[in-house]
């Protein structure tokens, strides 16, 4: 009940902030509304017990808005509070594209049979105290249970409390404790994301060095012959 209420509050803030970003003409106000919108999305992640994702959203998107804001001010403002005017045609085209995207999203969400997907999710008990009770019961009869179902129950419990960091880290290395190796469609062991991560980070380093090289203070080159004149 309270989660539903909070969901609606943050969902309205996220959507309203996003609309306000488009509707305002001032760069700094846009940044302010962007902070409201992205911060509300982070709050929605917290409501879904995805703590790590929410923190990453805050650090990368909301924190990154600062840089965007500074560049916006430095590159666009010739005087205080320069407005960026939009013509009506731009408004119509942008609105049409936005509504088309909304239509695509809504129709694709509506066309998916969610009952089949939710059946594949690990069974999550309704409340944290129930999780504890279930876990205690599971621990007592652990010699009866197979290791797999125990791991699944623990996975569900930790996921319910937003404790996903360890699983994320292991999944990053290619270990999935929530899946059984021999079970199902043979996707028990994933390949992990270590190599893609390294490739992306080296890529970013190259971009950083390139940017620093391009933006460096140019030194004036003294021509060879001019030294002898004086």
């Amino acid at each position: 009940m309270i989660e539903q209420l909070l969901f609606w509050v943050f969902a309205i803030l996220a959507c309203g902030g996003a609309v306000a970003v488009v509707a305002t003409h001032n760069v700094v106000r846009m940044a302010f509304w962007l902070v409201v919108s992205l911060g509300s999305v982070a709050a929605l992640f917290f409501l879904l017990h995805a703590d790590f994702l929410g923190a990453a959203q805050l650090l990368i998107y909301v924190g990154g808005t600062v840089v965007l804001l500074v560049f916006g001010v430095m590159l666009t403002a010739s005087g205080p509070y320069n407005a960026i005017p939009t013509s009506p045609a731009e408004g119509i085209i942008g609105g049409a594209v936005g509504f088309l995207l909304l239509f695509v999203l809504v129709s694709s969400i509506g066309s998916v049979d969610w009952t089949e997907v939710s059946g594949r999710l690990p069974a999550v008990p309704a409340a944290p105290y129930l999780v504890d009770m279930n876990l205690a019961a599971k621990a007592d009869e652990s010699f009866v249970n197979t290791g797999s179902s125990r791991a699944k129950a623990e996975f569900a419990a930790t996921q319910q409390q937003g404790r996903t960091v360890r699983q994320l880290g292991l999944g990053f290395l290619g270990l999935r404790p929530d899946r059984h190796l021999t079970e199902g469609d043979g996707k028990g062991s994933a390949s992990g994301y270590f190599l893609p991560f390294e490739i992306v980070s080296v890529h970013l380093l190259v971009v950083l060095i390139g940017a620093a090289y391009l933006a460096r203070a140019k030194r004036r080159v003294v021509p060879e012959g001019s030294m002898n004149v004086g």
Binding site: D51, L58, G63, L69, V70, M74
Partner: protein
């Protein structure tokens, strides 16, 4: 009717007719919601008390220390010989002032910016544990979350500076942006060193690993964490824009920097945010490097034995655990206050740096130093393991010290000893 009025205990009440009627009409969710709201209200007001109470003390301390360093007395009149109530008197004065918005200011952003800074600073207190069992939101990625939240305060400062419509404020905000974007890097790398050693982002796990004697604190774990603490503290001082890094409000050059146009209540909550952030970064330093809520003299291991005793008065409440938590919180806040004292001391001793010196200090010195410390802290256990065939010099390896969560520390230790005895 009789059942309605005779219901005195909670169990009687839940079994009574009125409770049945409530559940039938409003559903049991109504009762849960009410309980949830009461719990949330208590949590929030306790945190808000800490959030606004500590700055009152720190502002008084700042004036007193500044006075002593400059061979003055500081406040002496309000509230007896020590001027205890000076900050309260100032607060009352500030609230009475007119709430001005300059003609050139961007009205909405100018009004909202102080709240943005304060909310970011207050949100950091949510995930900050004060003792083993005392934290408002026990997130597993608490350390990551608190770094993310503390980096948002600068957004309020920049918006305030830009929207003021004054060149002094704009200069201050641009300096602050440049400073923050660069100082976040060494700060995060230095915070990563103890997190990497602990192998966890959970403050409770990190705190418990440093239980016992002084030598268990992460600052004494290896020479590189020792240096990393000082590196972190310098960057943390810069991140809360304290002198010698207070270029955003350089009085001698920029009048007052980003808050030139602010007055009254909005001005005062900027300072509320600044002084509480000083505490927040210091408390993070204490948890990551200085043993958290452990005193390092083994006194708390005696007090930890109290955990779990004196229960039965109220369901789920133990007097012994409460006392142990109060003791731990007092130690943590005391240590953090010492670090805040050092920040105040540095402010009134060192001259302000120029903006190019600030950037040089960060990009040419602190970033390479923190990267070097991080790499060496990764290699240190490997070097020890190959040369001495053990990952630490004294005591148990850290991996064996991590206790299961959700169990009081003393109970877990007792279980471990029972295992060992067997």
């Amino acid at each position: 009717m009789y059942g309605m009025f005779a219901a005195i205990t909670l169990e009687d009440f839940l079994a009574s007719n009125i409770s049945y009627w409530l559940r039938m009409t409003a559903g049991s969710e109504f009762v849960l919601l009410a309980a949830f709201l009461v719990a949330a209200l208590i949590h929030a007001s306790l945190l808000l008390g800490l959030f606004s109470g500590l700055p009152v003390f720190y502002i008084w301390l700042e004036r007193k220390v500044a006075g002593r360093i400059q061979d003055r007395l500081g406040p002496t009149r309000v509230g007896g010989g020590f001027g205890w109530l000076q900050t309260i008197a100032d607060g009352i004065k500030l609230i009475q002032k007119e709430d001005l918005v300059p003609k050139d200011a961007d009205n909405l952003v100018f009004r909202m910016a102080p709240y943005l800074a304060t909310i970011a600073s207050f949100a950091a207190f949510m995930v900050l544990p004060l003792s083993d069992g005392w934290v408002a939101v026990a997130a597993e990625c608490g350390a990551f979350l608190i770094l993310a939240l503390m980096s948002l305060e600068v957004l309020g400062i920049i918006l305030a500076g830009y929207s003021s419509g004054s060149k002094w404020a704009l200069f201050g905000a641009m300096r602050e942006a440049a400073q923050m974007v660069s100082y976040e890097i060494p700060m995060a790398i230095c915070a990563l060193i103890p997190l990497m050693i602990a192998g966890s982002l959970n403050f409770q796990v990190i705190g418990r690993m440093q239980s016992g004697g002084l030598w268990n604190w992460f600052i004494f774990h290896d020479p590189f964490t020792f240096l990393a603490f000082f590196c972190y503290f310098i960057t943390a001082t810069a991140s809360v824009k304290r002198a010698p890094f207070d270029l955003a409000e350089a009085e001698s050059e920029l009048v007052a920097g980003f808050h030139t146009e602010y007055s009254g209540f909005r001005w005062s909550i900027f300072f509320l945010a600044e002084y509480s952030s000083m505490f927040a970064v210091s408390a993070v330093a204490v948890i990551l490097f200085l043993g958290g809520w452990h005193d390092g003299l083994m006194v708390d291991s005696v007090i930890d034995n109290l955990r779990g005793t004196g229960s039965g008065l109220i369901e789920g409440f133990s007097l012994g655990s409460y006392a142990a938590n109060v003791f731990g919180a007092a130690i943590l806040i005391g240590k953090a206050c010492m670090l805040v004292f050092v920040q105040i001391w540095v402010r009134w001793t060192l001259p302000r740096l120029r903006i190019d010196q600030v950037m040089t200090t960060c990009l040419k010195y602190l970033v390479p130093i923190s990267c070097f410390l991080f790499v060496m802290a990764v290699l240190w256990p490997l070097v020890l393991a190959t040369s001495f065939s053990r990952p630490v010099f004294v005591g148990k390896p850290l991996g064996e010290k991590s206790l299961p969560l959700g169990v009081p520390a003393s109970a877990a230790v007792a279980a471990e000893q029972r295992e060992a005895a067997r």
